[in-house]
């Protein structure tokens, strides 16, 4: 492919969601030659769907609020495999990032004193869990993600960031030393394939919720960055940790924000009982998401589910009154009417735990530098490769993310990656150029699809993959079921490797993009499955019938999935925050 055009940048940011745009903004301001490469126009990225808010101790609702309390909640919420240096960085740097967003124009809702409105969210406490429920989630009604993403895009326009919109990154290009020196990208509109050369490649590709049949995630959340990194041989961390959001609209999977419960809504079973009082006597409906999701499944399994099939529960909001709903949750009212045919002012919304967030991802340090392990289990930086946002595993979310922490993660670590890359570029980065065979290696996968002459079609294989994940790797997991899932996935991988791309045209060929996405879904699914099988305990979002307890002796660790050998190793959790005392693992109750 020597006739391929190449584009050269100091930094290429793959993904135009919150973290990608925040990183890009930092680099655009510094004058570095930066481009954001996004498979959709940036404001179509999944950040736009975030509703409830961005959790941060800005001391607005409570003037005495403290980022250390937020950090405690985050570590506890993550069931103690949150890296404490990372949580410390996020929670202490958070206010700066939130105020920056406000200065950029984000239309936050307000308190009467003019400060940013904060609402209670799950897992939030004052005084290290001793002071009761906190209200720490900064909100723009229930459209915070939309407001945040648009604000970041607008400020990138202001700072003249270069955008490669509707371009699709296919695979990473590595040089002879194994450094990442760019990627292969496809211009969707024209079908042109380009070699993008960069000194820093940032994977800000978001999550991969589409590995499950039922998910709150956008159709574009196919784990492209994870797939690329796995194919390039880099390890993934904590891939078994998938958050199931308690309130996805039954049937449609559309998200209903935790902010509904923050504003006073609660879950009821078919008897009208507020069942969370039994499972989490203190926090009730605002316990950690993993806890609430499991409780809902228990209710359903024990025959107290709602509806004809008894397979969901209800979220009751009508007691809040039309005024609060209209003011604080207008988007939810709209979504509920459209997708559940229920007006929340009059009737409850049918909800069910739905795949929502990937806590795992590309292991990074707080600067966004990707990390790999050598044979002795020692960390090494991957030259040229960065990750931030949901695609990265810093890890601030550990085994279960708290509501509102994802948006904070995006802006804090997007900014951090941008700042680090800027200074690294200033110091000078020189990597060996990729050879022609290096580029050919990165082209191999797309060439396979382009030359495919027959075989199964993409949509049916995708549906099969999603069913396997839904059946074997859901809220509750067990050995035999997962064994079966891993086996089926291995077989499916073979079939996907021989699948057929019927449409080989160039102009806006969405079939080709979907085929390339399927490969990424496969990578993510297999990493998830193998890691889940290996972690023989229950922690956070990873709940096993056969190992119902947390096992701190063996598994107070990150899992590391190595794609080449399909092996799962372990990595130490960081328990050394710089300015506060370590939060020692305790029994986690709400």
């Amino acid at each position: 492919m020597s006739n391929m055009r190449s584009l050269t940048f100091d930094a290429i940011i793959i993904g135009g969601g919150g973290s990608g745009l925040r990183a890009a903004l930092e680099l655009a301001k510094s004058g570095k030659k930066t481009a954001v490469l996004s498979k959709v126009f940036p404001t179509r990225s999944h950040t736009v769907s975030a509703q409830g808010g961005i959790t941060c101790a800005i001391a607005s609702a409570d003037p005495n609020d403290d980022w250390r309390w937020h950090m405690y909640d985050t570590v506890k919420g993550g069931d103690y495999i949150t890296d404490q240096d990372a949580a410390e960085y996020m929670c202490s740097e958070g206010p700066k990032s939130v105020f920056e967003l406000e200065h950029m124009g984000l239309p936050f809702s307000r308190f009467d004193n003019g400060r940013i409105y904060q609402r209670p969210f799950g897992g939030q406490s004052k005084d290290y869990g001793k002071g009761g429920q906190a209200a720490r989630t900064c909100a723009a009604a229930d459209r915070t993600g939309h407001a945040l993403l648009h604000t970041l895009y607008q400020n990138n326009l202001k700072n003249h960031t270069t955008f490669l919109n509707e371009w699709y990154a296919v695979d990473l290009v590595k040089n002879a030393n194994g450094d990442v020196v760019g990627c292969i990208a496809l211009c969707i509109e024209t079908g042109e394939v380009v070699h993008v050369k960069a000194k820093a490649t940032v994977l800000a590709t978001g999550g991969a919720g589409r590995i499950y049949a039922s998910t709150t995630n956008a159709l574009i959340n196919t784990g492209d960055g994870i797939g690329m990194a796995l194919r390039a041989g880099f390890p993934m961390q904590d891939m078994e940790m998938w958050q199931f959001h308690p309130t996805g609209i039954y049937g449609a999977g559309v998200l209903v924000t935790e902010g509904c419960r923050g504003e006073g809504g609660y879950l009821i079973n078919k008897d009208g009982e507020r069942f969370m009082e039994r499972y989490a006597p203190n926090a009730k409906d605002l316990a950690g998401r993993d806890v609430v999701a499991r409780s809902m499944v228990m209710e359903i399994l024990e025959g107290r589910g709602c509806g004809e099939k008894g397979d969901h529960v209800y979220l009751k909001l009508d007691h809040l009154g039309e005024e609060v709903l209209g003011k604080r949750l207008p988007g939810i009212v709209e979504l509920s009417k459209t997708f559940a045919h229920a007006d929340p002012a009059k009737e409850p919304i049918p909800v069910v735990p739905t795949c929502h967030y990937m806590m795992g991802g590309i292991p990074t340090n707080v600067h966004g530098q990707a990390i790999m392990q050598d044979v002795d289990g020692k960390d090494h930086i991957v030259n040229g490769l960065f990750a931030c946002g949901e695609a990265a595993c810093v890890s601030v979310h550990g085994a279960n993310r708290l509501g509102g922490n994802s948006l904070l993660d995006l802006v804090v670590f997007g900014r951090a990656a941008g700042m680090f890359i800027e200074s690294a570029l200033n110091e000078g980065i020189e990597y060996l150029d990729a050879s022609e065979s290096d580029v050919d290696a990165a082209m191999a996968r797309m060439s396979r699809w382009n030359e495919s002459g027959g075989g199964e079609s993409v949509p049916s294989l995708k549906a099969e993959l999603q069913d396997i994940m839904q059946t074997s790797f859901g809220v509750f997991r067990q050995e035999d079921n997962m064994q079966e899932g891993v086996k089926k996935l291995a077989e499916l991988r073979g079939r996907i490797g021989e699948a057929h791309l019927a449409d080989k045209s160039n102009a806006f060929n969405t079939a080709r993009v979907e085929a390339l996405e399927l490969d990424n879904l496969m990578e993510v699914a297999e990493a998830t499955a193998i890691a889940a099988l290996e972690r023989k305990e229950s922690r956070g979002a990873h709940s096993r019938y056969d190992y119902p307890d947390r096992d701190d002796v063996n598994w107070l660790k990150h899992s590391m999935y190595f794609p080449t050998e399909k092996r799962v190793g372990k990595r130490d959790v960081n328990f050394k925050p710089k300015t506060v005392d370590t939060f020692e693992p305790k029994v986690r109750t709400y």
């Binding site: 126009f41 404001t43 307000r110 003019g114 648009h150 202001k158």
Partner: protein, 236 residues
């Protein structure tokens, strides 16, 4: 009857000399699907069918298209709302160049958005915390900031069809007013002087097609009226 007649605008620049309408029979099994679900079923029959989609819940603005003559978002438009006598006609958003099938080139739409400087401008140094804003001032942004840039409004506006290079269009003007109305923005005078020519704002004839189609229930015509009031107050 659960087999729906769907007629879709097709055009692939590599193989077609002219666009044409293609007929599909889609079995809905009696369900009240969203139009986007119907497109997914079509794509299973014919993988070459091109359309944009992302969030599938009406917040990303990808799948704006013309459904039985009216612009809207395919993902939040149930068949029961648009289908007449069991027939559904899907066309790309009118007035923009077609890239392929239902995918249009939105370049000029985005250019008009960029032209109104869609970002907060404040020449005073930022405080250490957030800029304060009263709930009443914040309320002024409701009905403005929620725009998802789907282009349903601008592509239903004849003034935008005739002068897409000069008339900002309802979407851009809604955002222009979003910043004019923001108590934290200090560039009001510059913003207004960029809008007082005969095209940018004044090509709006107030026919309210934009209001009729906005999938988020926003009212660009009202915002345009407010901009006119501000221009008038500023110049008289």
């Amino acid at each position: 009857m659960s087999v729906l007649q769907v007629s879709v605008y097709r055009y692939n620049p590599e193989t077609d000399s002219a666009p044409y309408m293609q007929e599909f029979q889609i079995d809905t099994h009696g369900r009240d699907l969203m139009v986007l679900n119907v497109l997914e079923l079509i794509k299973e029959q014919d993988s070459s069918m091109a359309y944009r989609r992302s969030c599938r819940e009406g917040v990303c603005g990808s799948d704006g298209m013309n459904m039985n003559g009216k612009n809207g978002l395919a993902c939040i438009t149930p068949l029961s709302e648009v289908v007449k006598s069991n027939k559904l006609v899907l066309r790309p958003l009118p007035g923009l160049p077609v890239v392929r099938d239902l995918v249009v080139d939105m370049g000029i739409f985005y250019k008009q958005y960029e032209r109104i400087q869609p970002y907060l401008q404040n020449d005073e140094p930022a405080p250490a915390i957030e800029r304060l804003q009263s709930p009443e001032d914040r309320d002024k942004l409701d009905g403005l900031y929620e725009c998802i840039l789907c282009a349903c409004c601008s592509t239903s506006c004849p003034s935008f069809w005739w002068n897409p290079d000069k008339f900002v269009g309802p979407a851009g003007l809604l955002q222009a007013y979003r910043f004019l109305a923001d108590s934290r923005d200090t560039a009001t005078r510059e913003r207004l002087s960029d809008l007082e020519d005969p095209f940018s704002v004044f090509r709006c004839r107030g026919i309210m097609n934009c209001v009729a189609v906005c999938p988020k229930g926003l009212n660009p015509t009202r915002a345009i009226g407010k901009i006119r009031e501000m221009l008038l107050a500023n110049a008289t």
